[in-house]
């Protein structure tokens, strides 16, 4: 039975350009308090455009209705659970949005004098300190704009250190369960990628690692807990094997929501890691960004961190630009400051003990779902779960229904799908991460939906394969979209 949703009317809305008609306005500028200037004269007639061809012209009322109508075509956390694995779609506290808009913060110009930016710098300083404590690391840069950007920063740091030691080396090792950004990052940092096959339990296989770690290996990039939601119990050994050969351990912090307050990467041998503030620290995904990807490092990597570095002398904070070993800048200015404000607000709200409670609830929710769904879906890896659980569609595939189709059916039940077909080491993966901000009620409704779909597959697999039925947009033809790309509106 579908508990969570009932169909209701949804407004139609054309594209802005189809709404548009000449002369309509949604703006009014103040009267100029200086003389007008002839553009052709000031800029040169050849530099002045005639018009912005095709640009919209709509009224204010039409503009607000346009975007409001479109907004209702989205699913969102504010509607309910997003069981996406390794994406940590948790509640986005509204206070974070409000404080990020505090006038003295939102309107701070990155080049205003440091003496008049102490508030911004204090926020960054406090966040750096908090993240270093949470990760068990010695120093943090807040400059990277997102997770993959943090990865790139981290790998460049490793490269810089190894270069200084005389040899940057050639390869980065990456488990086959890793997120796609890991190998893409290694390539951009100028490294060859060597994949490591996961062990039978889904972890890093120590014997294989021993073999692969040669003098050519710069680092291993590992996600912990890995993308099966399983903690690498051998992680300290992994670090040891790498360190013995002069290689470094990089940790992708995408799954840090399982560890905050429980275990610290710095304590189990990680040399450098990134965090996704838009995951663990509750900043909104906003339909795909913005994010922020701070990088935390051990002392040995600190000299290489991007310029500028925040530095404190007494009460005063300043940016240090004179750092001769730095990898340089990875982004203009100092980072996605507005996202950093939100993350700090989140950390302040929870506080130390609260952050640990959040982790415990996140893990409890995942294990609760695992227990409830184990009778209905195959669990290829049975190691204890942390914050997420990965099933396979083996049982359902025998009846002709694959994970992607189950996911689409879940939409009819009022939920966003879980992560489909990832990690790749699980055939037909259903990857589920509830996060701590789901209530027992919401989780029970989700579990019931999954069980109901499992039963539907037994009685009417064809019906399930045709889902979703209840959305305003049905299955989209993605093949044609890619074959004959239409990427902009044309009259």
């Amino acid at each position: 039975m579908i508990e969570k949703v009932t169909q209701h009317l949804s407004q139609n809305e054309p594209l802005l350009f189809e709404r548009s008609s000449p002369g309509k306005k949604a703006y009014q500028l103040p009267e100029l308090d200086v003389p007008a200037v002839d553009a052709a004269e000031a800029l040169g007639a050849e530099n002045v455009r005639r018009e912005i061809e095709g640009f919209p012209e709509v009224s204010e009322v039409e503009a607000i209705r346009h975007f409001t109508r479109l907004s209702t075509w989205n699913y969102a956390i504010d509607y309910g659970m997003y069981p996406l694995g390794s994406c940590t779609m948790k509640y986005n506290p509204r206070i974070n949005e409000q404080v990020a808009r505090t006038e003295g913060l939102a309107w701070a110009h990155p080049y205003q004098p440091e003496a008049l930016s102490q508030g911004c710098m204090e926020i960054m300083w406090s966040l750096e300190q908090a993240l270093a404590e949470i990760c068990g690391m010695d120093a943090v840069t807040l400059q990277p704009a997102a997770g993959a950007h943090g990865e790139l920063t981290g790998i460049l740091l490793i490269r810089a250190l190894l270069e200084k030691r005389g040899n940057p080396r050639k390869k980065i090792l990456i488990p086959d369960s890793a997120h796609g950004t890991n190998p893409a990052t290694a390539a951009i940092a100028g490294y060859a990628v060597e994949n490591i096959k996961s062990s039978e339990t889904g972890g890093v296989d120590l014997a294989t690692l021993e073999q692969l770690v040669t003098d050519d290996v710069a680092a291993l990039m590992v996600t912990n807990p890995n993308t099966l939601g399983v903690f690498e119990n051998n992680i300290a050994r992994v670090a040891e094997i790498l360190h013995r050969k002069g290689a470094m351990l990089y940790m992708d912090g995408a799954n840090m929501n399982a560890l905050v307050g429980i275990a610290r990467p710095g304590d189990f041998g990680v040399d450098v890691m990134h965090l996704n503030l838009h995951k663990t620290f509750s900043t909104p995904h906003g339909g795909g960004g913005p994010g922020a990807g701070p990088v935390a490092v051990k002392k040995v990597l600190e000299p290489f961190l991007p310029t500028p570095r925040l530095k404190r002398s007494g009460k005063k904070l300043a940016f240090d630009y004179k750092r001769k070993h730095s990898i340089g800048r990875v982004k203009a200015f100092y980072g996605n400051f507005g996202v950093l404000v939100r993350a700090l607000a989140y950390a302040l709200a929870h506080g130390g003990p609260g952050l640990k409670n959040a982790t415990m609830d996140a893990v409890l929710n995942a294990i609760y779902i695992r227990k409830a769904l184990e009778p209905y879906f195959d669990l290829p890896y049975t190691s204890p779960s942390m914050h997420e659980v990965v099933f396979s569609d083996d049982r359902q595939a025998k009846l002709g229904v694959r994970t992607g189709e189950i996911a689409k059916r879940l939409i009819d039940y009022g939920f966003h799908p879980y992560t489909v077909s990832f990690p790749m080491i699980v055939h037909g993966a259903l990857m589920i991460e509830p996060t701590e901000t789901e209530s027992k009620d919401e989780i029970d409704v989700f579990i019931n939906a999954m069980i109901s779909i499992a039963k539907e597959i037994e009685t009417d697999p064809q019906m399930v394969k045709g889902a979703p039925y209840n959305t305003r947009t049905s299955k989209v033809d993605e093949v044609t979209a890619a074959r004959k790309p239409v990427l902009r509106w044309k009259p």
């Binding site: 949604a26 500028l29 800048r329 990875v330 607000a345 302040l348 506080g351 294990i367 299955k475 509106w489």
Partner: protein, 449 residues
Amino acid sequence: MRYLPKSESERREMLEACGVSTPEELFAHLPDAVRLNRPLDLAPGISEYEIVQYFRERADQNANGYASFLGAGVYNHYRPVLVDTVVSRGEFLTSYTPYQAEIAQGTLTTIFEFQTMICQLTGMDVANASMYDGSTAVPEAAMMAVRATGKGRVLVAKTVHPEYREVLGTYAKHQGMPVEEFGYVRESGALDLEDLERKMDDLTGAVIIQTPNFFGIVEQVKAAAEIAHKRGALLVVIFTEAVSLGLLEPPTDADIVAGELQSFAISPSYGGPYAGIIAVKEKYIRQVPGRLVGQSLDSRGNRAFCLTLSTREQHIRREKATSNICTNQALIALMATVFMTVYGKQGLRELAEQNLAKAHYLAGKLKPRFTGKFFNEFVVRAEGKTPEELNKQLLKKKIIGGLPLGRFYPELADSYLVCATEMTKRADMDALVAAAAAQPTAENVEVTA
């Protein structure tokens, strides 16, 4: 805690279902050595009211109530109320990347509109769903040009934003992508076409220029394009002041346009988050980094949008992807989309005209150092004092002066970059002019160590 929606009895019930009696037992399988056996050294949680207070106090430590003449890549433009109204809707704010097209048409449709408007503004055929910001869009554009031409060398104008060039340098270092700079004409402040021509060779895959450039000067895109194309390189045109495109001829001679949309209703926010763009000519469509939204039909035959051409991207191609980028700036791009909608065809032009008028009013009183045509910012040589001394004086009048250029251009240490937008008041401009003209006195040149 208010973000944890469970009562104690529910939590107990769930623990019981998991076969444990305390949450700690859920972690019993972790080796002791990896456990943090003490509480995090962070203060206990605080209330919403205290959080508001904390950030208000921080904001009070910053500049408040100052007029500012800073631009240099981050501009002070009015943010229409509709922008925050729209982006505060939970359906946009709290939604995920639109991989599930059936329940993400809101985001997908707005991105499609965004891509369209960026094409209309820049004169390009294809625009992506946004990049982190303008600075990171530059190396992405350079890498793209290098891929498309098979030639590794990059030539970048010194008049491109200095921090953007630094970012390019960081990315380029390890990719066999040597980056060299070419100069500007000392009189006009525009890029030096002769220097570009001299430094061009057949190994160069990308020529990168910015217009209006870092000094505010409108560059000769066509002439630069001819030099680049003659030797088989692509021309990459950068912009940092998107409002200029309301008036300026779009850079249609470019092969790739990369820019920053901060001017489109994105708060300065001490440097981010902003939104970058990459827009290209049709033939480079499969070389574009980042997410793209395309139009298609759903199974009922209705128009529908979806993420497309993802075989370029890291989650499919892994180490062979066009970029490692995953996140785009969807919500920030939405701010820009609402901004472009509110101003529209007429408004963006009028807005640009107001910027032009303000800056030229100021330029009428402060002599620009360079002779090149400029939009809303320009370089001034400080008379009788250093730019730093002038700024110190201005701060006493609650004015943040222009950006002293010495930190980026030692040869311009006597000069500063000033910006005037539609938000700049005539009275403040007059105050700046008066201070700039004032003879140095013992009081106003007092310099602290």
